[in-house]
């Protein structure tokens, strides 16, 4: 039996990394992620994790050192947040394009200016076209489980793309919850990177690739992204079978008979369940869909005929809520009331969410906290 312990989201991610046994960790501090890499540095110094810890001088170098390590065929991990993620941006493309199964803990935090360390999803969403898989978690247990699964999914030869585990800054990274520190056993098979550097089989990596081949490499990435849907489903099913905790790419809460569904990611998506309970008591048939995997994007959301209140803790300026927009693009018939809420750590309670539902105006965008006449 696994032990139940109290832990922050950060420490749970670090614990999962210890279980997954990467050989190289290269990382750079940034609030609110730092606890992850400090915990890993402690494991390494204490000999509990036999990894090389590279305390690089920037996130650009953190991701690049991960790339250099990963192409030798070893398991690697890093963690970052917000500006750190943005400073990696160029190398995120390099990592995915090189088909490296790097796993990264990503703590969602607002972007400056003005400096702000609280939760927001714009950091990760602005990296959604880099070729990384993105999962958003909502509890400490889920942070732990998703990190374990991330290694298996990334390293699956049908995927070979990097995975980013997103967790809300402070709301999850620093919140203590009990979780089961499951020993994964052989759940994560040994990594066998087919294109690893091998002096006995010398290959060139990332050389000039002209217009008549480049798109083929890119289609290959797209194919793997599509295949990752299957791999995610298989992995989550296998995880449930072995350890008894089940997850789906989109977690549903009382959606079957719902007239209106709150759609959100991360902790908001969990808190929305309380809002749904509240609404149901008032006679409003509400449900919740919590999108966990944003990349690959879920293509089988059961939303036909239902009102969606999509809460975006992000904004694409001049466009609107990113998640609302993506749903609309993939489900042209979707009826959406878009809400931009929680930017920069703005508090959003379940009461607020219930009110978004009650006062929804379909087909509009509403900025929480901004007076009606300015909307």
């Amino acid at each position: 039996m696994s032990e139940l312990i109290m832990s922050t989201g950060n420490k749970a991610v670090a614990a999962a990394v210890k279980m997954a046994k990467p050989l190289v960790v290269a990382a750079y501090p940034i609030t609110p992620q730092t606890e992850i890499i400090e915990s890993i540095a402690d494991y390494v110094e204490a000999g509990d994790l036999k990894a090389r810890y590279i305390p690089v001088e920037s996130e650009h170098s953190a991701m690049t050192a991960c790339i250099g390590a990963s192409i030798t065929g070893v398991r690697v991990f890093t963690a970052t947040s917000s500006h750190g993620l943005l400073y990696m941006h160029e190398m995120l493309h390099w990592a995915a394009g090189a088909r490296l199964p790097i796993v990264m803990g990503q703590v969602n935090r607002t972007l400056a200016p003005g400096w702000n360390i609280w939760a927001e999803h714009t950091d990760a969403l602005s990296q959604r076209d880099t070729g990384w898989l993105q999962v958003y978690v909502s509890t400490v247990q889920e942070a732990y489980d998703a990190t374990l699964m991330a290694f298996r999914i990334a390293e699956d030869n049908r995927v070979l793309l990097p995975v980013m585990i997103n967790m809300d800054g402070f709301l999850l990274s620093h919140i203590m919850q009990p979780f089961e520190m499951t020993e994964p056993g052989d759940f994560i098979p040994p990594l066998d990177l087919p294109h690893k550097i091998d002096v006995n089989d010398p290959k060139g990596y990332g050389a000039m690739s002209p217009a008549n081949v480049h798109y083929q490499f890119r289609f290959d990435m797209e194919k793997s992204m599509r295949a990752s849907r299957t791999v995610i489903n298989e992995t989550e099913a296998e995880f449930a079978k072995r350890f008894g905790r089940s997850y789906a790419p989109v977690e549903e809460y009382f959606c079957d008979d719902a007239d209106v569904i709150i759609v959100a990611m991360g902790t908001l998506g969990k808190e929305a369940e309380v809002a749904a309970d509240l609404l149901r008591k008032e006679g409003i048939k509400a449900g919740v869909m919590r999108i966990r995997w944003l990349r690959p994007f879920p293509l089988d959301m059961n939303i036909k005929g239902k009102d969606l209140v999509v809460i975006d803790r992000d904004c694409s300026f001049g466009f609107g809520g990113v998640v609302a927009g993506e749903i609309q693009a993939r489900y042209p018939d979707a009826k959406i009331a878009s809400v931009i809420a929680g930017l920069g750590g703005q508090e959003v309670t379940y009461e607020d969410m219930a009110e978004f539902v009650r006062s929804r105006k379909m087909g509009t965008e509403f900025w929480f906290g901004i007076p009606q006449e300015e909307q």
Binding site: T31, T34, E45, W115
Partner: protein, 296 residues
């Protein structure tokens, strides 16, 4: 005696830890720089201690910018101001991480291009803002949250790296010697082109010292010779008065180490290496000073 203006350029509302060496230094930097000054601050403790919007600590404009980017921002700002015919001082105030680690590329570029600005690095020898992780400027043996058993490699010699850019003015300083800081900033700002001042800034929580010991510990650093105050104006290299006195009979560095919790895990062997490094550096500096005098 240096006449330091009584007028304070910082309001009495900083949110630093008690005994913050970086704030003490900044107080005298701004007295020297005066009102016609813009501060450029990358991510560091000084981006936090300014207070929360809409309030501010400083009485000069402060431009906050990304962690790696201070020297590039100052380059653009200085070029634009000069293009408009304005003499406003552009001063970067950055930590050791923002200078020696993530920001070193932008710094090197700006120095090489000869931008007209003053770059001041306050060195608390770790990443204070994020809770004391190691930086390239963390000294050998120091405990940080990413070096829980003490750092196993040496402090990066930032000054030699900067020196390789042949600046018109470069200096070191320490929060414990405010008059020295004041004079050096004044002199730096009187010279066109890129200037660099590296200030050792004791940090009570990071160095694990009582908050009233900031000044004392900084003085111990200078008296032991682990930190040397000097300045270099074009090719003229001079050891500053407090270090000139200290170099005659340096105090063993062990006392400096023992006074700080961050060196708690330094064993005799490492202490000897640290002492040997200090001795070697002092010799190099004495030689450089002597050579500079000869060529006068």
């Amino acid at each position: 005696m240096t006449e330091i203006p009584k007028e304070e350029m910082l309001l009495k509302c900083p949110s630093t830890c008690a005994g913050c060496g970086s704030l003490l230094a900044l107080r005298y930097i701004l007295k020297a720089a005066g009102k016609d000054t813009v501060l450029v601050i990358p991510a560091c403790c000084n981006s936090v201690i300014q207070g929360v919007y809409p309030y501010m600590l400083h009485t000069v404009p402060v431009y906050n910018i990304a962690f790696a980017a201070a020297a590039a921002c100052a380059s653009g700002m200085s070029e634009a101001l000069r293009a408009k015919g304005e003499k406003t001082n552009v001063i970067v105030y950055a930590g050791d991480g923002g200078t020696a680690d993530i920001g070193i590329q932008a710094l090197s570029g700006a120095l090489e291009r000869g931008e007209d600005f003053l770059y001041i690095c306050y060195d608390n020898e770790a990443y204070g803002n994020t809770g004391m992780q190691r930086s390239g400027a963390t000294p050998l043996g120091a405990i940080t949250t990413t070096t829980p058993n003490g750092k196993t490699v040496n402090k990066k010699d930032l000054d030699r790296i900067v020196e390789a850019h042949n600046l018109p003015y470069q200096a070191t300083a320490c929060s414990s010697y405010p008059a020295d800081i004041y004079n050096k900033v004044k002199k730096a700002l009187s010279i066109p082109g890129p200037k660099f001042i590296h200030i050792l800034a004791p940090c009570p929580p990071g160095w694990r010292i009582p908050s009233e010991k900031t000044v004392e510990i900084g003085k111990m650093a200078v008296k032991s010779g682990i930190w040397v105050l000097w300045e270099k104006e074009y090719d003229k290299f001079t050891v500053s008065a407090p270090s000139r006195a200290a170099m005659k009979r340096p105090v063993p560095v062990g006392e400096y180490l023992k006074a700080q919790g961050r060196f708690r895990k330094v064993d005799e062997k490492t202490a000897a290496v640290i002492q040997a490094n200090v001795d070697k550096n002092l010799k190099k500096i004495a030689l450089e000073a002597a050579q500079s005098e000869e060529t006068e």
